[in-house]
C-alpha cells in the first residue's frame, strides 16, 4: 500500500462511533494484556486480500479479532453464533 498512487485525502477527522470506541477498547485491552499480538491481528486483516479495502477500518479490525480469538480457542464458532443471536435479540 505505502508508495502506491492514491486520491485526495479527506483531512477531516470524522471521529468514532460508540461501537467503534468499544471495539477499539476491546482490541486494545486484549493486546495490552498480551492475550493477542498486534502482528497476528494485522496478518488476519491482510489475509482478507481483495476484501481488505471493502471493509471500513473497525470492520476490518473486528474481523481480524474474530479470526485470532477463534484460532486461539477462546470460544468456538458455535458459541460465538449463539452469543451473537442473544445480543441481536436484545436490540430488537
Amino acid at each position: 500500500m505505502g508508495g502506491e498512487p492514491g486520491g485526495a485525502i479527506d483531512t477531516v477527522d470524522h471521529g468514532m462511533k460508540f461501537w467503534e470506541k468499544q471495539a477499539n477498547a476491546l482490541r486494545n485491552t486484549l493486546t495490552r494484556r498480551k492475550v493477542v499480538r498486534l502482528d497476528e491481528l494485522r496478518r488476519a486483516a491482510e489475509d482478507l486480500g481483495e476484501d481488505y479495502l471493502k471493509l471500513e477500518y473497525f470492520e476490518r479490525t473486528t474481523h481480524a479479532l474474530r479470526v485470532v480469538l477463534l484460532e486461539h480457542g477462546f470460544f468456538t464458532e458455535a458459541e460465538l453464533a449463539a452469543k451473537m443471536a442473544e445480543v441481536r435479540k436484545r436490540y430488537e
Binding site: M1, G15, W19, A25, L65, R66, L80, Y91
Partner: protein, 207 residues
Amino acid sequence: MSKHHDHDHHDDPSFDHGPPSEWEILSRAMQELMIAKGVITAEQIRTRMEQFEAELPYRGPRVIARAWTNPAFKQRLLENGRKACEEFGLDMEAEKLVAVENTPQVHNLIVCTLCSCYPRALLGMPPTWYKSENYRRRVVREPRAVLREFGTVIPDNVTVRVHDSNADMRYVVVPMRPAGTEGWSEEKLAEIITRDTLVGVTLPKAS
C-alpha cells in the same frame, strides 16, 4: 430533576443512531464472551474507553511543551522517548518511542503504511485520515503534496523526512517552538500543540 430530562437517547453518546450493524453485534458478542471466560473484565474495557477520551490525547502536548521549555528534558526525549516520558510520570505501554525534531533544515512527518500504528499513549486515537488508504499510500511518495492538502507548505530548501511506524516503534514529531511564544508557561504552550502538529501535517502557531 434535570432540565435535560426530555432529551431522548439521540443525545446520549453511548448509543449510535439506528439499528446495530452485524459488526457491532459481533464485536459486542466477542467482548461478552471474553468477559464471561474471565480473560478480561468489563471494568477494563470501560477504563480504557475513558482513557482514550480523557487522558491519552492530552499527554503529547504536555510532553512537547516541557521539551520546548527545558532543553535537558528535550535532549533526553530525543535520546530515548519512552524513558523520558516515564520520567514525566507517563506509562508508555511498552513500545519504543522515537521523538524526531523539526529544525530549520528538516521537517518530519509520521505515517504507518502497514496499518495504523500511532503514538496512542501520547495522542489517543489516530484521526480518520491517518488510517485512510490515501494517506498511507501517498505520504511516502509525495509528502509535500500531502502536506499542501493540510494547508502546510514546506519550502523546497527544507528536507521532508517521512517516518514509517510499526507495532513496536512509534514516532512523535517535536515541532519548532513558534516565534511570539517567549515567556509562555508550559500550560499555555501545550494549548497550541495540537495532535496534527505532533504527526507533522501542520505547524504550531502562536495565536
